[in-house]
């Protein structure tokens, strides 16, 4: 075992918890040639001195900040999904392209919305994100839940009001419910 320099900080006796060790490691900048808080294998017991507690609090704040910085991108990425989960503020029903009749509209001009996803001829598409209106969104489309038919499309989606929206500039409007 290499000899430790005389001015190397020594770990407080009786420190065994990971919190206490972290506090000690963080609070003690190791001098050149000193081991960085490496445990020496001695059996330790926990000692909560006021100094250790203060160091622990400071380290806790730092750790919390680090945790926040590390997880922030993931949290930001998850936010649109959370928005998508909340759903669009759009009435469910049959939507047709503006200018098309509700009765007998061509298949390509129709989209049904069930409150969660859009459907045309059994192909269901769901917005992965509902960020700013008019943004280009990744839309996952699947036919009858068959994963082998999964396609990602891009829609520039704009919610006009609860009864109309546009995709890539094409305006769809809600048809009245037929008896």
């Amino acid at each position: 075992m290499a000899a430790q320099a005389a001015d190397c900080p020594s770990r407080p006796a009786g420190l065994s918890s990971s919190v206490g060790l972290a506090a000690w490691r963080a609070g003690q900048a190791p001098a050149q040639g000193c081991p960085r808080g490496a445990p020496d294998g001695a059996a330790l017991t926990m000692v909560w001195s006021p100094a250790t507690q203060a160091a622990g609090r400071a380290t806790g704040r730092k750790a919390a900040m680090r945790l926040l910085i590390l997880t922030a991108p993931a949290l930001l990425a998850a936010m649109p999904h959370a928005a998508a989960a909340r759903g669009l503020d759009l009435e469910p029903g049959l939507f047709v392209l503006q200018g098309e009749p509700c009765k007998g509209a061509t298949s390509t001009a129709m989209l049904s919305f069930d409150g969660r996803q859009f459907d045309n001829k059994g192909v269901q598409c769901r917005l992965e994100a509902t960020g700013r209106s008019g943004d280009s969104h990744a839309v996952t489309c699947m036919e009858g839940g068959d994963a082998s038919t999964r396609e990602t499309r891009r829609w520039s989606f704009r919610l006009i009001d609860r009864r109309s929206f546009s995709i890539n500039g094409s305006v769809f409007r809600l048809c009245p419910v037929q008896p």
């Binding site: 029903g93 049959l94 392209l97 509700c102 009765k103 007998g104 509209a105 061509t106 298949s107 390509t108 001009a109 129709m110 989209l111 049904s112 069930d114 859009f118 459907d119 045309n120 001829k121 059994g122 192909v123 269901q124 598409c125 489309c141 036919e143 009858g144 068959d146 082998s148 038919t149 396609e151 499309r153 829609w155 995709i167 890539n168 094409s170 048809c175 037929q178």
Partner: protein, 229 residues
Amino acid sequence: MTPLVAAVALAVSGWFGAIPAAANSFTRDAGSCDLNQRTRLTDLCPNGFGMPAGASTQGMLVRHANVAGMIVDSANRYGVDPRLALAVSAHEGRMSACAGSFTGVQGPMQLTQATGRGYGMDRGVLADNINGGMLTLRDAIVSCGGDRNIRCLADRYNGSTEDQRRSWTSGVSERLASLNQAGQAAPAGCDGQAQCIMGPGDFPAGRLPVAATPPAPAPTDVLVDVGQV
């Protein structure tokens, strides 16, 4: 100099103004009338897929002469009433190769990926799109005990929401009635021949389509010999 520039600009604008701009690039006929061709929809539709411009059923037959001929041939091949097949295509995608919905359904029969695959067809190929749609329609007819019950066919062919099936029923019924009108000649297919009659395809809405065959000379036409101009 300025009058010259103005004159050139006027001439250029007049020239471009005379060129009929494509009002709707999703209205596109096939290059030939042959069910054996392996033309991909993407090759026919460089501008992508979308909602074809509106037209009457008869107008679609003129505009998409080759696609209509292929539909009739496919219907005859699989024992489907050609008029019903044309009515379905007219409702589904206005007989256009470039018809497409925002969910990715494509082609004159609006065939979905899984349905096409179920029949061993590649829905991205025009002939497969038509044949796959025809096989779906044939099986729907068998399942419905005949082709009279359009509502039943809607359930089998469209298979989407109740609203869409209802719309399909009325849309196909109207198109079929228009094709069945007294005096309408039975639509002809290509009978496996690549007739290469170019349908007018793209033309601005509101303007008359270009005739597939040139009209006979009118009495007032001035005949000009070759070399005179």
